[in-house]
């Protein structure tokens, strides 16, 4: 039966994709299947809206390797008559998506921000021109691979209905890339993409120690500090996991406070889904004010501590 096939090497992301696949399955009439490979628990997938889960714990499936996983998914795709793939657009997911697309002769869009069924097929949106624009695009080939950004939708909740878990036998060639070791990036990595409040800082900050001004504000707001790319990659004041922007993470907080950030498009794409944007900048012409709900022309060294103090006072009064 023609299917939508869901895969992500991150279970949480796979569950989000299952949510999306459920929606699209109803509209397209396609069946929903999932691949649970390596260490993933097929049973957990089966309770989240797919009729069939193809599971394998083939020894070559650990650790993740794009080439091996592309072979595995090609083989599963043939079994389930996959028409549409939903893959998580993580770094590993993108590594896989390109190889798999070429292996299968499929069309592919990565980093999709949305995917909807419209009259004549699926339409995805993704950033173009470095994030200056958002393109709505369709794929023409009959086999289509969409890599969707994590946190695109809520993960599918476990339900009553239970799909069938099928152990597949895969015929895999080993990767020529030898995995030596993995080192966690840093302790205390935070979930920027899932955060409700972000305090974002940029080059308006003069020195590393001053990040604590932003941290204090983030702390009273129960949020996290994020930053523009140069602050992490050039200056190394914050870990890379805190980068917001085109090559970093995309936040969707209820509120983002952007302090000392000019608002270049490379940053702006990572924050423009925030519900409310508050900007503090000394330059009245800074682009960030154009994308802000509330802008305050002023020095972050003055304003942020004032905000922190005012919020503490408010909270204590409650």
């Amino acid at each position: 039966m023609p299917s939508i096939l869901v895969f992500s090497e991150q279970d949480r992301c796979a569950f989000e994709l299952l949510h999306k696949a459920g929606e699209l399955g109803k509209k397209t009439g396609l069946d929903v299947a999932a691949a649970a490979l390596g260490g993933s628990q097929g049973e957990e997938y089966a309770r989240r809206g797919c009729t069939r889960v193809y599971a394998s714990s083939h020894e070559l499936l650990q650790p993740f390797d794009a080439f091996v996983y592309a072979q595995a998914l090609s083989q599963i795709a043939a079994t389930v008559q996959a028409k549409i793939f939903l893959i998580g657009s993580t770094r590993s997911g993108k590594d896989l998506a390109g190889r798999l697309s070429q292996m299968l002769g499929a069309g592919c869009l990565t980093d999709c921000q949305s995917l909807e069924y419209e009259q004549e097929g699926l339409v995805a949106t993704r950033n173009a021109f470095g994030g200056a624009t958002v393109a709505a695009q369709k794929l023409r080939p009959s086999l289509q691979i969409y890599a969707l950004l994590p946190y695109l939708c809520e993960p599918a909740a476990p339900g009553e209905a239970k799909g069938e878990v099928i152990q597949v036998s895969l015929n895999l060639k080993p990767s020529r890339v030898r995995k030596i070791k993995k080192t966690p990036k840093e302790l205390g990595a935070v979930d920027i993409e899932g955060a409700e409040v972000l305090v974002c800082v940029g080059k308006g900050l003069a020195k590393k120690e001053d990040i604590k001004i932003a941290e204090e504000l983030a702390s009273v707001l129960s949020g996290f500090v994020a930053c523009t790319k140069p602050l992490a990659t050039d200056l190394k004041w914050l870990p890379e996991s805190r980068i917001i922007g085109l090559s970093g993470k995309k936040g969707k907080p209820k509120m983002a406070v952007c302090a000392g950030i000019s608002g270049q498009v490379q940053f702006a794409v990572g924050i423009r889904d925030a519900k409310t944007i508050v900007a503090v900048n000394t330059d009245p012409n800074a682009y960030i004010f154009q994308m802000a709900d509330y802008g305050l022309i002023g020095d972050l060294y003055q304003i942020l501590p004032q905000l922190t103090a005012a919020l503490k006072k408010l909270q204590n009064a409650k």
């Binding site: 794009a66 190889r99 697309s101 869009l109 393109a135 030596i180 070791k181 802008g295 305050l296 919020l311």
Partner: protein, 258 residues
């Protein structure tokens, strides 16, 4: 060490404006350049050649303007360039780009390493590297933060979201790099002058057995506009004096309740 670096021509995105009325990007008078992460890949290749010798070949696919834009890669230190050009060749068609790159690389002869940026500056799709690896039957090492070569073994550190992964691969291999890997050089004037005289081969897709019309396009772009910004645009201009007003506004929106 013979290294191939695949680069892509893009508009200098820092200079693209958006028309407020129509939300359309304006490319008039915007110069063309090479992708910024492509330059990291090129820089890495040139550094290896400076130490170990060999040759760096820049390979690219795009419209005819590429013949001029590629001088940037030659000025940065590539020894020669191999191009596939055709009018209006859309280099965002990842499958087509990867196929043409593979065909062009087939004209070069033996190589040890193919380097690319993890994604292009404009489209940032990240497909061409892995697609090319599949076409050329090469192992792929994506999102590389640093690497070195000992004999025929390449040792790389890949940068994933939550971890660094150390891997090894025997050459030839295809590696994509992240921008953190290095700081690309700004070429000296003498290098820029020399660039025009470096060897450059230009193919048409037909020369390589590809008819673009028959190959077909995979993508259809329905719209491509700057996103709608439905922002309130309330601006407080009095600096620190306005902080209480800002706090009040945020409080009224319910943003400060926990």
């Amino acid at each position: 060490m013979d290294i191939i670096v695949c680069v892509k021509q893009t508009y200098d995105l820092q200079q693209v404006r958006i028309l407020k009325e129509t939300r359309q990007p304006v490319f008039e008078n915007v110069p063309l350049t090479l992708g910024s992460i492509d330059k990291n890949a090129l820089e890495e290749a040139v550094r290896i050649r400076e130490k170990a010798g060999g040759k760096v070949t820049a390979v690219s696919v795009g419209p005819e303007t590429l013949e001029d834009t590629i001088k940037e890669a030659l000025a940065m230190g590539a020894d020669e360039a191999v191009l596939v050009t055709a009018p209006k060749l859309d280099s965002n068609e990842s499958a087509l780009s990867a196929t043409l790159l593979a065909k062009a690389i087939g004209q070069i002869g033996p190589f040890d390493l193919i380097l690319l940026g993890e994604g292009s500056t404009d489209n940032y799709s990240g497909q061409v590297g892995p697609r090319l690896a599949e076409l050329l039957d090469l192992p792929q090492v994506a999102f590389t933060k640093s690497f070195h070569i000992e004999g025929r073994t390449l040792r790389a550190v890949r940068s994933l979201e939550d971890c660094l992964e150390d891997v090894e691969v025997d050459l030839p291999a295809l590696v994509t790099v992240v921008s953190e890997i290095n700081e690309p050089r700004i070429p000296a004037v003498t290098q820029i002058l020399k660039a025009g005289r470096k060897p450059k081969k230009v193919f048409r897709p037909e020369d390589l057995g590809i008819q673009i019309g028959e190959f077909g396009f995979q993508l259809e772009t329905i719209s491509n506009l700057a996103p709608v910004q439905n922002r309130k645009g309330i601006l407080f201009k009095e600096g620190a004096k306005d902080t209480p007003a800002l706090v009040k506004a945020l409080e009224e929106e319910g943003l400060l309740r926990r």
